[in-house]
Protein backbone atom coordinates (compact mmCIF):
# COMPACT_ATOMS: atom_id res chain seq x y z
CA UNK A 1 0.00 0.00 0.00
CA UNK A 2 2.28 2.72 -1.28
CA UNK A 3 2.51 6.08 0.46
CA UNK A 4 -0.12 5.27 3.03
CA UNK A 5 2.16 5.13 6.00
CA UNK A 6 3.72 8.53 5.56
CA UNK A 7 4.39 10.22 8.85
CA UNK A 8 2.37 13.37 8.06
CA UNK A 9 -0.74 11.40 7.05
CA UNK A 10 -0.62 9.25 10.16
CA UNK A 11 -0.07 12.25 12.38
CA UNK A 12 -2.97 14.20 10.92
CA UNK A 13 -5.37 11.32 11.37
CA UNK A 14 -4.22 10.40 14.85
CA UNK A 15 -7.04 11.95 16.84
CA UNK A 16 -9.97 10.66 14.82
CA UNK A 17 -8.33 7.29 14.25
CA UNK A 18 -7.20 6.50 17.73
CA UNK A 19 -9.77 8.19 19.88
CA UNK A 20 -12.94 8.48 17.79
CA UNK A 21 -12.79 12.26 17.88
CA UNK A 22 -14.99 13.82 15.25
CA UNK A 23 -16.56 17.26 15.00
CA UNK A 24 -19.83 18.97 15.81
CA UNK A 25 -21.38 22.16 14.50
CA UNK A 26 -22.50 23.89 17.66
CA UNK A 27 -24.78 26.17 15.66
CA UNK A 28 -27.09 23.48 14.25
CA UNK A 29 -25.94 20.65 16.54
CA UNK A 30 -25.00 18.27 13.70
CA UNK A 31 -22.15 15.91 14.54
CA UNK A 32 -19.68 14.47 12.04
CA UNK A 33 -17.58 11.36 11.96
CA UNK A 34 -15.25 11.08 10.12
CA UNK A 35 -14.72 14.72 11.10
CA UNK A 36 -15.74 17.53 8.79
CA UNK A 37 -14.35 21.03 9.13
CA UNK A 38 -17.23 22.57 7.17
CA UNK A 39 -20.80 22.10 8.38
CA UNK A 40 -22.89 20.70 5.53
CA UNK A 41 -25.87 22.80 6.57
CA UNK A 42 -24.48 26.06 7.95
CA UNK A 43 -21.33 26.14 5.77
CA UNK A 44 -19.20 29.18 6.62
CA UNK A 45 -21.75 30.33 9.18
CA UNK A 46 -21.35 27.13 11.19
CA UNK A 47 -19.15 26.74 14.23
CA UNK A 48 -17.15 23.51 14.15
CA UNK A 49 -15.70 22.06 17.36
CA UNK A 50 -14.16 18.74 18.33
CA UNK A 51 -16.59 16.10 19.45
CA UNK A 52 -15.79 12.83 21.19
CA UNK A 53 -18.09 9.97 20.21
CA UNK A 54 -18.87 7.18 22.64
CA UNK A 55 -16.92 4.14 21.53
CA UNK A 56 -19.91 1.99 20.59
CA UNK A 57 -22.13 1.52 17.58
CA UNK A 58 -24.50 -0.73 15.69
CA UNK A 59 -23.87 -2.65 12.46
CA UNK A 60 -26.03 -1.53 9.52
CA UNK A 61 -24.51 -3.67 6.79
CA UNK A 62 -21.37 -5.78 6.44
CA UNK A 63 -19.22 -7.91 4.19
CA UNK A 64 -16.38 -10.40 4.54
CA UNK A 65 -13.30 -9.50 2.51
CA UNK A 66 -11.77 -12.70 1.12
CA UNK A 67 -9.49 -11.22 -1.54
CA UNK A 68 -7.54 -8.51 0.27
CA UNK A 69 -5.59 -5.60 -1.17
CA UNK A 70 -1.81 -5.13 -0.76
CA UNK A 71 -0.90 -4.84 2.90
CA UNK A 72 -3.99 -6.60 4.29
CA UNK A 73 -3.49 -10.20 3.13
CA UNK A 74 -2.50 -11.46 6.59
CA UNK A 75 -5.92 -10.51 8.01
CA UNK A 76 -8.11 -12.14 5.33
CA UNK A 77 -10.84 -13.21 5.60
CA UNK A 78 -11.98 -10.23 7.67
CA UNK A 79 -15.32 -8.51 8.18
CA UNK A 80 -15.99 -4.88 7.35
CA UNK A 81 -19.17 -3.21 8.48
CA UNK A 82 -20.83 0.16 8.25
CA UNK A 83 -21.40 1.15 11.84
CA UNK A 84 -23.89 3.69 13.14
CA UNK A 85 -22.38 5.76 15.97
CA UNK A 86 -25.39 8.01 16.46
CA UNK A 87 -28.47 8.40 14.29
CA UNK A 88 -27.18 9.80 10.99
CA UNK A 89 -23.49 9.31 11.82
CA UNK A 90 -21.96 6.24 10.22
CA UNK A 91 -18.45 4.99 9.53
CA UNK A 92 -16.92 1.93 7.91
CA UNK A 93 -14.68 -0.24 10.06
CA UNK A 94 -13.05 -3.63 10.35
CA UNK A 95 -14.72 -5.96 12.84
CA UNK A 96 -12.18 -8.26 14.49
CA UNK A 97 -12.77 -11.88 15.46
CA UNK A 98 -14.72 -14.57 13.64
CA UNK A 99 -16.31 -12.97 10.57
CA UNK A 100 -19.13 -15.54 10.68
CA UNK A 101 -20.38 -13.94 13.91
CA UNK A 102 -20.82 -10.52 12.34
CA UNK A 103 -24.51 -9.72 11.72
CA UNK A 104 -26.54 -6.65 10.96
CA UNK A 105 -27.94 -5.14 14.16
CA UNK A 106 -25.14 -6.36 16.42
CA UNK A 107 -23.50 -3.85 18.76
CA UNK A 108 -19.78 -3.16 18.54
CA UNK A 109 -17.17 -1.18 20.43
CA UNK A 110 -13.82 0.28 19.36
CA UNK A 111 -10.53 -1.49 19.88
CA UNK A 112 -6.99 -0.38 19.13
CA UNK A 113 -5.21 -2.71 16.71
CA UNK A 114 -2.61 -3.03 14.01
CA UNK A 115 -4.22 -1.90 10.74
CA UNK A 116 -1.77 -2.99 8.05
CA UNK A 117 1.87 -3.33 7.16
CA UNK A 118 3.14 -0.81 4.69
CA UNK A 119 4.43 -2.56 1.60
CA UNK A 120 7.18 -0.06 0.96
CA UNK A 121 9.09 0.31 4.17
CA UNK A 122 7.47 -2.30 6.36
CA UNK A 123 6.07 0.24 8.85
CA UNK A 124 3.30 -1.05 11.07
CA UNK A 125 0.23 1.13 11.16
CA UNK A 126 -2.09 1.10 14.16
CA UNK A 127 -5.60 2.41 14.43
CA UNK A 128 -9.18 1.78 15.34
CA UNK A 129 -11.01 -1.46 14.68
CA UNK A 130 -14.24 -2.76 16.19
CA UNK A 131 -15.15 -5.79 18.28
CA UNK A 132 -18.50 -7.43 18.78
CA UNK A 133 -20.26 -6.86 22.10
CA UNK A 134 -22.11 -9.74 23.72
CA UNK A 135 -25.62 -10.11 22.39
Amino acid sequence: MPQMSSVPIAWRLQQPRYRLIGTICTKCNTSYFPPRSLCQTCRDKGKIEKHKFPGTGKILTYTVIRIAPEGFAEFAPYAIAIIELEPGVTVAGQVVGDPEQVKTGRKVKTTFRRMYTDGKDGLLQYGMKWELLDQ
Binding site: Y78, I80, Y116
Partner: protein, 388 residues
Protein backbone atom coordinates in the same frame (compact mmCIF):
# COMPACT_ATOMS: atom_id res chain seq x y z
CA UNK B 1 -27.56 24.87 -27.07
CA UNK B 2 -25.93 23.53 -30.25
CA UNK B 3 -26.99 20.03 -31.21
CA UNK B 4 -24.24 17.43 -31.27
CA UNK B 5 -24.03 13.99 -32.89
CA UNK B 6 -21.77 10.97 -32.70
CA UNK B 7 -20.49 10.29 -36.20
CA UNK B 8 -17.94 7.54 -35.58
CA UNK B 9 -17.16 4.91 -32.96
CA UNK B 10 -14.83 2.00 -32.36
CA UNK B 11 -13.10 -0.02 -29.72
CA UNK B 12 -10.27 -2.49 -29.45
CA UNK B 13 -10.56 -6.12 -28.49
CA UNK B 14 -10.91 -6.05 -24.67
CA UNK B 15 -8.87 -8.48 -22.58
CA UNK B 16 -5.40 -9.16 -21.29
CA UNK B 17 -3.37 -7.48 -24.00
CA UNK B 18 0.16 -8.27 -22.92
CA UNK B 19 1.52 -7.40 -26.32
CA UNK B 20 -0.04 -3.93 -26.42
CA UNK B 21 0.95 -0.88 -24.44
CA UNK B 22 -1.51 1.76 -23.27
CA UNK B 23 -0.35 4.09 -26.02
CA UNK B 24 -0.85 1.39 -28.62
CA UNK B 25 -4.36 0.59 -27.40
CA UNK B 26 -5.35 4.27 -27.43
CA UNK B 27 -4.02 4.73 -30.93
CA UNK B 28 -5.76 1.61 -32.21
CA UNK B 29 -9.18 2.61 -30.89
CA UNK B 30 -8.68 6.12 -32.19
CA UNK B 31 -7.89 4.93 -35.69
CA UNK B 32 -10.91 2.62 -35.66
CA UNK B 33 -13.25 5.46 -34.75
CA UNK B 34 -11.73 7.80 -37.32
CA UNK B 35 -12.03 5.14 -39.99
CA UNK B 36 -15.62 4.46 -38.96
CA UNK B 37 -16.46 8.17 -39.24
CA UNK B 38 -14.35 8.51 -42.37
CA UNK B 39 -12.70 11.64 -41.01
CA UNK B 40 -9.06 12.52 -41.49
CA UNK B 41 -6.66 13.60 -38.78
CA UNK B 42 -6.64 17.17 -40.02
CA UNK B 43 -10.38 17.49 -39.39
CA UNK B 44 -10.06 16.76 -35.66
CA UNK B 45 -10.05 19.95 -33.61
CA UNK B 46 -9.71 18.65 -30.05
CA UNK B 47 -9.21 15.45 -28.09
CA UNK B 48 -10.56 14.26 -24.72
CA UNK B 49 -9.16 11.19 -22.97
CA UNK B 50 -10.69 9.35 -20.03
CA UNK B 51 -8.32 7.33 -17.87
CA UNK B 52 -8.14 6.49 -14.21
CA UNK B 53 -4.99 4.66 -13.21
CA UNK B 54 -2.13 5.14 -15.66
CA UNK B 55 -0.23 7.13 -13.04
CA UNK B 56 -0.23 4.27 -10.57
CA UNK B 57 -0.31 1.35 -12.99
CA UNK B 58 2.41 2.39 -15.41
CA UNK B 59 3.85 5.66 -14.02
CA UNK B 60 2.35 7.67 -16.86
CA UNK B 61 0.21 10.76 -16.33
CA UNK B 62 -0.43 13.46 -18.93
CA UNK B 63 -2.26 11.03 -21.23
CA UNK B 64 -3.85 13.93 -23.04
CA UNK B 65 -0.55 14.82 -24.65
CA UNK B 66 0.44 11.19 -25.13
CA UNK B 67 -2.78 10.46 -27.00
CA UNK B 68 -2.49 13.50 -29.27
CA UNK B 69 1.15 12.59 -29.89
CA UNK B 70 0.50 8.93 -30.75
CA UNK B 71 -2.43 9.77 -33.01
CA UNK B 72 -0.21 12.34 -34.76
CA UNK B 73 -2.65 15.12 -33.88
CA UNK B 74 -0.41 17.63 -32.07
CA UNK B 75 -0.77 20.61 -31.55
CA UNK B 76 -4.56 20.28 -31.11
CA UNK B 77 -5.94 20.77 -27.59
CA UNK B 78 -6.06 17.49 -25.69
CA UNK B 79 -7.53 17.00 -22.23
CA UNK B 80 -7.47 14.13 -19.75
CA UNK B 81 -10.46 13.57 -17.54
CA UNK B 82 -10.40 11.33 -14.47
CA UNK B 83 -13.48 10.29 -12.55
CA UNK B 84 -12.58 6.73 -11.57
CA UNK B 85 -14.71 4.25 -13.57
CA UNK B 86 -16.78 7.14 -14.98
CA UNK B 87 -13.75 8.74 -16.65
CA UNK B 88 -14.92 7.67 -20.12
CA UNK B 89 -18.42 9.11 -20.09
CA UNK B 90 -17.15 12.25 -18.40
CA UNK B 91 -14.53 12.73 -21.11
CA UNK B 92 -17.36 12.39 -23.61
CA UNK B 93 -19.47 14.95 -21.75
CA UNK B 94 -16.63 17.47 -21.77
CA UNK B 95 -16.14 16.88 -25.49
CA UNK B 96 -19.85 17.54 -25.93
CA UNK B 97 -19.58 20.79 -23.96
CA UNK B 98 -16.54 21.82 -26.01
CA UNK B 99 -18.71 21.67 -29.13
CA UNK B 100 -21.66 23.31 -27.40
CA UNK B 101 -19.33 26.13 -26.29
CA UNK B 102 -18.76 27.01 -29.93
CA UNK B 103 -15.00 26.53 -29.70
CA UNK B 104 -14.92 23.35 -31.78
CA UNK B 105 -16.91 21.45 -34.42
CA UNK B 106 -15.30 18.01 -34.64
CA UNK B 107 -13.93 16.49 -31.46
CA UNK B 108 -12.69 13.02 -30.49
CA UNK B 109 -13.42 11.48 -27.08
CA UNK B 110 -11.66 8.32 -26.02
CA UNK B 111 -11.07 6.21 -22.96
CA UNK B 112 -8.25 3.82 -22.24
CA UNK B 113 -7.04 1.65 -19.39
CA UNK B 114 -4.08 -0.69 -19.14
CA UNK B 115 -4.68 -2.81 -16.04
CA UNK B 116 -2.81 -6.06 -16.51
CA UNK B 117 0.73 -4.70 -16.31
CA UNK B 118 0.65 -4.96 -12.51
CA UNK B 119 -0.19 -7.79 -10.15
CA UNK B 120 -3.68 -8.43 -8.88
CA UNK B 121 -3.26 -7.15 -5.33
CA UNK B 122 -1.64 -3.95 -6.62
CA UNK B 123 -4.56 -3.52 -8.99
CA UNK B 124 -7.05 -4.04 -6.17
CA UNK B 125 -5.26 -1.38 -4.10
CA UNK B 126 -4.94 1.06 -6.99
CA UNK B 127 -8.62 0.85 -7.87
CA UNK B 128 -9.44 1.93 -4.33
CA UNK B 129 -8.10 5.33 -5.35
CA UNK B 130 -11.70 5.82 -6.52
CA UNK B 131 -12.97 5.55 -2.94
CA UNK B 132 -12.09 7.42 0.23
CA UNK B 133 -8.39 6.83 0.82
CA UNK B 134 -8.42 7.97 4.44
CA UNK B 135 -11.53 6.19 5.66
CA UNK B 136 -12.15 3.30 3.26
CA UNK B 137 -8.86 2.19 1.66
CA UNK B 138 -6.95 2.31 4.94
CA UNK B 139 -9.28 -0.06 6.76
CA UNK B 140 -8.84 -2.75 4.12
CA UNK B 141 -11.96 -2.18 2.07
CA UNK B 142 -11.89 -3.21 -1.57
CA UNK B 143 -14.03 -2.15 -4.45
CA UNK B 144 -15.89 -5.44 -4.32
CA UNK B 145 -16.26 -4.90 -0.56
CA UNK B 146 -17.97 -1.55 -1.08
CA UNK B 147 -20.50 -3.03 -3.47
CA UNK B 148 -20.91 -6.01 -1.15
CA UNK B 149 -21.97 -3.61 1.61
CA UNK B 150 -24.49 -2.13 -0.82
CA UNK B 151 -25.65 -5.60 -1.87
CA UNK B 152 -26.34 -6.75 1.67
CA UNK B 153 -28.20 -3.52 2.46
CA UNK B 154 -30.36 -4.04 -0.64
CA UNK B 155 -31.02 -7.66 0.28
CA UNK B 156 -31.97 -6.69 3.84
CA UNK B 157 -34.23 -3.86 2.78
CA UNK B 158 -35.90 -5.30 -0.32
CA UNK B 159 -35.38 -9.05 -0.23
CA UNK B 160 -33.17 -9.08 -3.30
CA UNK B 161 -31.71 -12.56 -3.78
CA UNK B 162 -28.41 -14.05 -4.91
CA UNK B 163 -30.30 -15.74 -7.75
CA UNK B 164 -31.52 -12.38 -9.01
CA UNK B 165 -27.96 -11.07 -8.90
CA UNK B 166 -26.78 -14.13 -10.80
CA UNK B 167 -29.37 -13.54 -13.51
CA UNK B 168 -27.76 -10.18 -14.26
CA UNK B 169 -24.46 -11.88 -15.05
CA UNK B 170 -26.21 -14.61 -17.02
CA UNK B 171 -28.06 -12.06 -19.18
CA UNK B 172 -24.99 -10.01 -19.95
CA UNK B 173 -22.81 -13.00 -20.77
CA UNK B 174 -25.53 -14.34 -23.05
CA UNK B 175 -25.32 -11.15 -25.09
CA UNK B 176 -21.54 -10.95 -25.01
CA UNK B 177 -21.20 -14.26 -26.86
CA UNK B 178 -21.84 -12.42 -30.11
CA UNK B 179 -19.57 -9.44 -29.42
CA UNK B 180 -16.25 -9.99 -31.21
CA UNK B 181 -14.45 -7.57 -28.85
CA UNK B 182 -15.66 -9.16 -25.60
CA UNK B 183 -13.09 -10.42 -23.10
CA UNK B 184 -15.32 -13.33 -21.96
CA UNK B 185 -17.63 -14.18 -24.85
CA UNK B 186 -19.22 -17.25 -23.31
CA UNK B 187 -22.47 -18.07 -21.57
CA UNK B 188 -22.67 -18.81 -17.86
CA UNK B 189 -25.43 -20.36 -15.75
CA UNK B 190 -27.03 -19.25 -12.50
CA UNK B 191 -25.55 -22.34 -10.88
CA UNK B 192 -22.05 -21.42 -12.02
CA UNK B 193 -22.43 -17.94 -10.57
CA UNK B 194 -23.71 -19.27 -7.25
CA UNK B 195 -20.87 -21.77 -7.02
CA UNK B 196 -18.12 -19.32 -7.94
CA UNK B 197 -15.82 -18.29 -5.09
CA UNK B 198 -16.89 -15.57 -2.68
CA UNK B 199 -14.81 -12.42 -3.12
CA UNK B 200 -16.60 -10.22 -0.58
CA UNK B 201 -19.78 -11.74 0.82
CA UNK B 202 -22.34 -11.87 -0.64
CA UNK B 203 -20.60 -11.04 -3.94
CA UNK B 204 -18.97 -13.88 -5.83
CA UNK B 205 -16.41 -13.94 -8.61
CA UNK B 206 -19.05 -14.13 -11.33
CA UNK B 207 -20.88 -11.14 -9.88
CA UNK B 208 -17.80 -9.02 -10.62
CA UNK B 209 -16.53 -7.49 -13.82
CA UNK B 210 -12.97 -8.45 -14.74
CA UNK B 211 -9.62 -6.64 -14.86
CA UNK B 212 -9.22 -5.61 -18.49
CA UNK B 213 -7.02 -3.76 -20.97
CA UNK B 214 -8.77 -1.83 -23.68
CA UNK B 215 -9.59 1.45 -25.38
CA UNK B 216 -12.66 2.96 -27.01
CA UNK B 217 -13.17 6.11 -29.06
CA UNK B 218 -16.02 8.12 -30.54
CA UNK B 219 -16.08 11.10 -32.89
CA UNK B 220 -18.47 13.97 -32.14
CA UNK B 221 -19.66 16.65 -34.55
CA UNK B 222 -21.68 19.83 -34.24
CA UNK B 223 -25.02 19.96 -36.02
CA UNK B 224 -23.51 21.87 -38.94
CA UNK B 225 -20.51 19.58 -39.23
CA UNK B 226 -22.64 16.45 -38.81
CA UNK B 227 -24.42 17.14 -42.10
CA UNK B 228 -21.62 15.60 -44.10
CA UNK B 229 -21.71 12.31 -42.18
CA UNK B 230 -23.91 9.31 -42.79
CA UNK B 231 -26.40 8.33 -40.13
CA UNK B 232 -25.36 10.60 -37.24
CA UNK B 233 -26.57 9.51 -33.83
CA UNK B 234 -27.74 12.51 -31.80
CA UNK B 235 -26.89 13.25 -28.19
CA UNK B 236 -30.25 14.40 -26.88
CA UNK B 237 -29.50 14.40 -23.16
CA UNK B 238 -26.45 14.64 -20.89
CA UNK B 239 -26.35 14.73 -17.11
CA UNK B 240 -23.64 14.49 -14.47
CA UNK B 241 -23.82 14.40 -10.68
CA UNK B 242 -21.60 13.84 -7.65
CA UNK B 243 -22.05 12.21 -4.24
CA UNK B 244 -19.92 11.76 -1.14
CA UNK B 245 -16.70 9.93 -1.90
CA UNK B 246 -17.24 7.56 1.07
CA UNK B 247 -20.17 5.15 0.99
CA UNK B 248 -20.74 5.44 4.74
CA UNK B 249 -21.33 9.20 4.44
CA UNK B 250 -24.59 8.69 2.54
CA UNK B 251 -28.12 8.66 3.89
CA UNK B 252 -29.01 5.54 1.91
CA UNK B 253 -26.85 2.61 0.83
CA UNK B 254 -29.45 1.20 -1.55
CA UNK B 255 -29.71 3.99 -4.09
CA UNK B 256 -27.17 6.12 -5.91
CA UNK B 257 -28.01 9.81 -5.86
CA UNK B 258 -25.52 10.40 -8.67
CA UNK B 259 -27.58 8.11 -10.92
CA UNK B 260 -30.87 9.63 -9.88
CA UNK B 261 -29.77 13.23 -10.33
CA UNK B 262 -27.73 12.75 -13.52
CA UNK B 263 -30.50 10.77 -15.22
CA UNK B 264 -33.19 13.28 -14.24
CA UNK B 265 -31.10 16.04 -15.84
CA UNK B 266 -30.58 13.96 -18.97
CA UNK B 267 -34.26 12.95 -19.27
CA UNK B 268 -35.30 16.58 -18.89
CA UNK B 269 -32.83 17.74 -21.52
CA UNK B 270 -33.99 15.01 -23.88
CA UNK B 271 -37.63 15.71 -23.13
CA UNK B 272 -38.42 12.04 -22.61
CA UNK B 273 -39.64 9.72 -19.87
CA UNK B 274 -37.85 6.47 -18.87
CA UNK B 275 -40.52 4.42 -20.68
CA UNK B 276 -39.38 5.87 -23.97
CA UNK B 277 -35.90 4.39 -23.74
CA UNK B 278 -35.54 1.43 -26.13
CA UNK B 279 -32.28 0.04 -24.80
CA UNK B 280 -29.92 0.74 -21.96
CA UNK B 281 -26.23 0.43 -21.17
CA UNK B 282 -25.74 0.33 -17.40
CA UNK B 283 -22.60 0.09 -15.32
CA UNK B 284 -22.61 -3.56 -14.19
CA UNK B 285 -19.21 -3.46 -12.49
CA UNK B 286 -20.97 -5.69 -9.96
CA UNK B 287 -24.33 -7.31 -10.58
CA UNK B 288 -25.99 -5.31 -7.78
CA UNK B 289 -25.16 -2.12 -9.63
CA UNK B 290 -27.32 -3.16 -12.58
CA UNK B 291 -30.25 -3.86 -10.29
CA UNK B 292 -29.90 -0.53 -8.50
CA UNK B 293 -29.49 1.28 -11.82
CA UNK B 294 -32.73 -0.22 -13.14
CA UNK B 295 -34.48 1.29 -10.13
CA UNK B 296 -32.66 4.62 -10.03
CA UNK B 297 -33.10 5.21 -13.76
CA UNK B 298 -36.86 4.88 -13.24
CA UNK B 299 -37.54 1.61 -15.08
CA UNK B 300 -39.25 0.15 -12.01
CA UNK B 301 -40.06 1.12 -8.44
CA UNK B 302 -37.33 1.29 -5.80
CA UNK B 303 -36.57 -2.19 -4.49
CA UNK B 304 -38.08 -4.05 -7.45
CA UNK B 305 -34.95 -4.25 -9.58
CA UNK B 306 -34.33 -7.87 -8.60
CA UNK B 307 -37.80 -8.91 -9.68
CA UNK B 308 -37.44 -6.91 -12.87
CA UNK B 309 -34.39 -8.98 -13.78
CA UNK B 310 -36.05 -12.23 -12.68
CA UNK B 311 -39.01 -11.50 -14.98
CA UNK B 312 -36.64 -11.41 -17.95
CA UNK B 313 -37.39 -7.78 -18.73
CA UNK B 314 -33.71 -6.96 -19.35
CA UNK B 315 -33.35 -9.58 -22.12
CA UNK B 316 -32.61 -8.38 -25.63
CA UNK B 317 -36.23 -9.05 -26.56
CA UNK B 318 -37.59 -7.99 -23.18
CA UNK B 319 -39.41 -4.89 -21.99
CA UNK B 320 -36.19 -2.91 -21.41
CA UNK B 321 -33.14 -4.51 -23.05
CA UNK B 322 -30.05 -3.89 -20.92
CA UNK B 323 -26.38 -4.34 -21.79
CA UNK B 324 -27.31 -5.84 -25.11
CA UNK B 325 -23.72 -6.22 -26.28
CA UNK B 326 -22.45 -7.91 -23.10
CA UNK B 327 -21.97 -5.16 -20.52
CA UNK B 328 -18.92 -4.81 -18.31
CA UNK B 329 -19.29 -8.41 -17.17
CA UNK B 330 -18.73 -10.07 -20.52
CA UNK B 331 -17.01 -7.38 -22.59
CA UNK B 332 -14.67 -6.47 -19.74
CA UNK B 333 -14.07 -3.29 -17.76
CA UNK B 334 -10.99 -1.25 -18.67
CA UNK B 335 -12.20 1.45 -16.32
CA UNK B 336 -11.46 4.60 -18.31
CA UNK B 337 -12.68 3.04 -21.57
CA UNK B 338 -15.99 1.66 -20.34
CA UNK B 339 -18.04 4.87 -20.58
CA UNK B 340 -17.01 5.35 -24.20
CA UNK B 341 -17.51 1.66 -25.02
CA UNK B 342 -21.09 1.94 -23.75
CA UNK B 343 -21.75 4.84 -26.11
CA UNK B 344 -20.09 3.01 -29.00
CA UNK B 345 -22.40 0.03 -28.39
CA UNK B 346 -25.47 2.26 -28.32
CA UNK B 347 -24.35 3.81 -31.61
CA UNK B 348 -24.08 0.37 -33.20
CA UNK B 349 -27.58 -0.52 -32.02
CA UNK B 350 -29.13 2.81 -33.03
CA UNK B 351 -27.56 2.49 -36.48
CA UNK B 352 -29.20 -0.94 -36.72
CA UNK B 353 -25.80 -2.57 -37.21
CA UNK B 354 -25.73 -4.88 -34.18
CA UNK B 355 -26.26 -8.06 -36.21
CA UNK B 356 -27.31 -10.96 -34.01
CA UNK B 357 -27.48 -8.59 -31.05
CA UNK B 358 -29.78 -6.07 -32.74
CA UNK B 359 -32.67 -4.74 -30.66
CA UNK B 360 -35.73 -4.37 -32.84
CA UNK B 361 -36.65 -0.86 -33.82
CA UNK B 362 -34.15 0.76 -31.46
CA UNK B 363 -34.52 4.54 -31.61
CA UNK B 364 -33.49 5.85 -28.20
CA UNK B 365 -30.69 4.52 -26.01
CA UNK B 366 -29.44 5.50 -22.57
CA UNK B 367 -25.98 4.95 -21.08
CA UNK B 368 -25.13 5.20 -17.39
CA UNK B 369 -21.49 5.26 -16.28
CA UNK B 370 -20.68 5.21 -12.55
CA UNK B 371 -17.47 6.21 -10.78
CA UNK B 372 -16.36 4.69 -7.49
CA UNK B 373 -19.13 3.42 -5.26
CA UNK B 374 -21.39 6.04 -6.84
CA UNK B 375 -19.59 9.32 -6.16
CA UNK B 376 -19.85 10.19 -9.86
CA UNK B 377 -22.74 9.40 -12.17
CA UNK B 378 -22.93 10.33 -15.85
CA UNK B 379 -25.99 9.68 -18.00
CA UNK B 380 -26.27 10.17 -21.75
CA UNK B 381 -29.28 9.68 -23.99
CA UNK B 382 -28.75 9.08 -27.70
CA UNK B 383 -31.27 8.97 -30.51
CA UNK B 384 -31.24 8.14 -34.20
CA UNK B 385 -33.02 10.02 -36.98
CA UNK B 386 -36.17 7.89 -36.56
CA UNK B 387 -36.66 9.18 -33.03
CA UNK B 388 -36.63 12.86 -33.95
Amino acid sequence: MRRVAIVGAGYTKFGECWDKSLRRLAQEAGMRALADAQVEGKDIEALFVGNMTAGRFIGQEHLSALAADRMGLTPIPSTRIEAACASGALAFRKALMAIQSGQHDIVVAGGVEKMTDVGGDSAVASLMGAADQEWESQIGLTFTGLYALITRAHMQQYGTTSEQLALVSVNNHKNGVHNPNAQYPFEITVEQVLKSPLIADPLRLLDCSPITDGAATVVLASEEAAKRFENPIWVIGSGQASDTIALHDRKSFTELQATIVSSRVAYKQAGIRPEQVDLVEVHDCFSINEIIAIEDLGFCKKGEGGKFVEAGKIARDGERPINTMGGLKSIGHPVGATGIRQLADLVTQLRGKAGKLQVNDAKIGLALNIGGSGATGVTHILANQNAL
